[in-house]
Symmetry: C2
Subunit: 400 residues, 2 copies
């Protein structure tokens, strides 16, 4: 262990069932122990006590910006550039619609074919709705950079591939897009809380992400959106809701967007969900993303080393170079779904993504070096002893 031992300081802050090694925080982060108390306080001490007055007395109205500032620190964004709300799908739509409006003479949305489906679906829905001849062009991840040319209005990529963990070079892609006048939207679903992101330093235009994975905000926790300050007052929010209005409580008949990132708010904020997330974010106080990244690499390298030693033929679906992957490791295996079920039966929770991908996420906040070695050893043991039941487990999907 070369990096600071974050685990010693944070493991006790999480609720994890006895005997479980949880390598699926990349799908749904675990419960932070402080959350139930904080939620109970919001219910009884805020909603129950203040009723409608909670909007002002408990500060509910400002939560999207206040919680956004806390997320901003973790993704290399300045305070006042991130706002919370809605779902990642909705935030993708807002960013895409804004980007297309900023590049009215261009018709191409460029993405990669392995992007998480909802990003592609939202682009398809927007294109159909606009009906102006826009095109969603997708390519293999390694071919995307070469397709960035002056026809491209916006490059929309998920920084860390949800299946393989493959990592884009955010600085390089962003610079290449800007060189030809294109905008870039980064989906940070598998980045926020997982790796060091530098939105301001790489001059990214838009970024979006969810908070229920590495940020442990709970199932269906609110999403976030970042808009570069240089664009925030220019972006036209297609989803122009009253909380993005310059004066939401003046009840004016016409929409006037708020200045800055606030215009990306839409409807009434999901107060209880924001409070849940807010409590979960306390875990990050004093934690540096550079330290998390260093530790995450140590963990994933240890996992791979153990698996390589025990199952040299198991096909790694993730980049072998840790600098080229996010905080997850995936293997390609025909009976992957059944193996994941066998692992779960033995207390190791990873997950499966069709076709054939077994995924394991590494979160230094609650996984020790020993945990990861033990999980890898159990995987090796299951594979080498062929201890899985391919008849019992038909392949079926699970929630990412």
């Amino acid at each position: 262990m070369k990096s600071p031992d974050i685990f010693q300081a944070t493991r006790e802050k999480f609720t994890l069932p006895e005997g479980v090694l949880y390598l699926d925080g990349n799908s749904l982060g675990p419960l932070v122990k402080a959350v139930p108390g904080r939620v109970a306080q919001m219910l009884e001490g805020e909603w129950g006590r203040y009723l409608i007055g909670g909007w002002n007395l408990a500060g509910w109205v400002d939560m999207p910006a206040r919680v956004g500032d806390r997320v901003a620190r973790l993704i290399g964004a300045a305070p006042g550039t991130v706002v919370m709300g809605d779902t990642l799908s909705i935030k993708v739509y807002q960013a895409l619609a804004s980007a297309l409006a900023l590049r009215p003479d261009r018709r191409v949305i460029l993405s990669d074919r392995n992007n998480f489906p909802t990003d592609l679906y939202m682009a398809q829905g927007l294109i159909a709705s606009l009906d102006k001849g826009h095109e969603l062009k997708v390519a293999a991840p390694e071919a995307v950079a070469d397709l960035i040319d002056e026809s491209v209005a916006v490059v929309m990529l998920t920084e860390v591939d949800y299946r393989t963990g493959r990592l884009y070079d955010m600085a390089q892609i962003t610079a290449k897009a800007h060189a030809v006048g294109a905008l870039v939207i980064w989906d940070l679903a598998h980045s926020a809380g997982a790796i060091a992101v530098d939105l301001a330093g790489t001059d990214a235009d838009f970024a979006v992400g969810c908070t229920y994975k590495y940020l442990n905000g709970g199932p269906g926790a609110p999403a976030f959106i970042y808009v570069a300050p240089r664009l925030a007052d220019l972006a036209r929010p297609a989803l122009s809701g009253w909380f993005g209005h310059a004066a939401p409580f003046a009840f004016e008949p016409d929409y006037r967007p708020a200045l800055g990132i606030e215009r990306m708010r839409v409807g009434t904020p999901p107060v209880l969900a924001l409070g849940t997330l807010d409590a979960a974010l306390d875990v990050w106080d004093g934690i540096s993303m550079a330290d998390i990244r260093a530790r995450s690499i140590e963990l994933s390298e240890a996992f791979i080393a153990t698996v390589e030693a025990g199952c040299p033929d198991l096909e790694l679906a993730s980049p072998r170079d840790p600098q080229a992957r996010g905080s997850q490791v995936s293997y390609l295996f025909e009976d992957g779904y059944a193996v994941i079920q066998a692992l779960i039966d033995e207390g190791v929770i990873g997950d499966y993504r069709a076709p054939g991908i077994m995924r394991f996420g590494f979160t230094p906040l609650y996984l020790s070096h020993e945990d990861v070695q033990r999980a890898a050893a159990i995987l090796v043991d299951i594979i080498t002893s062929r201890r899985w039941d391919q008849d019992r487990y038909k392949i079926k999907g699970k929630v990412t």
Copy 2:
């Protein structure tokens, strides 16, 4: 009291601070006592225990439809025609975008100028985004029906006016729209849980609403959307997220809308907020909306009678005919904001909407005849004794 005494059965199910008469459930419903326990169970017993497994083991994935069915009963809709998620603003956008796509040769969205601002803003944002020459035409509420002609693609109205409580004739407007080939979107924000709504019987096309008012779902609770079964498979969801896909977990590259109302789902559902709402909806078990409506009229009539007797000159901003108003009563008064503050100081919580509107909501679930009489008496006493401080309270907005 002629109608069944709902209050006796339900008052004890709500947390209300000692000494408070809460006539603002039309803005934010109070906390249902069963909610904190249910939420604690979801946090510790579902999320904490099942982790990612909760999506299947705790049935999270089906919550939008399951809770939607419970809301459906309260708004005269069949099971399987309502789905929960997002915010009311987002649901307005989905309904509008779907309606415009169903009437591609028409360019008018007809609404009333007193509609809640976010409905108008979302229409404006959609129109700007489509950039196809659509027009948002607004008129006075009483003039809307006469403007329904063959230029109109969709009539978008809030059934109960948020300021005055003025009630549209849903059956009449819907029939008139259908007669000229127009569609109708009903915003039920101030209807759901407040009055008897018959979406199926009136043959409404779309309906949307929030659940944090009369349905007591909590601050920022999820919204709902209804699509008539005859349209559900035709509606093209502009916001085409993965949870509205026919096979969300197949991770297909192209969007294929689910059959029926499920296509109106967008992103990952807000599980904790849906659980909160689900627990709050238990209060409605065995309650008929016809009984609620009868009782609500008795309460509002009693309130008006007391105020009329004590302050004959106070201007009623709501229709005097109870059949023509929702479950609220509003008065127009120049110093209305200061009077509302004086009422709050004396334990009567109503609210204020610019310009000059004092609003009082009636919810038979937790307000008795005596409560309402007492609230009216305090209002009369404040007005007649001029017991308010207009200097101390500058007019400012509050959350609807």
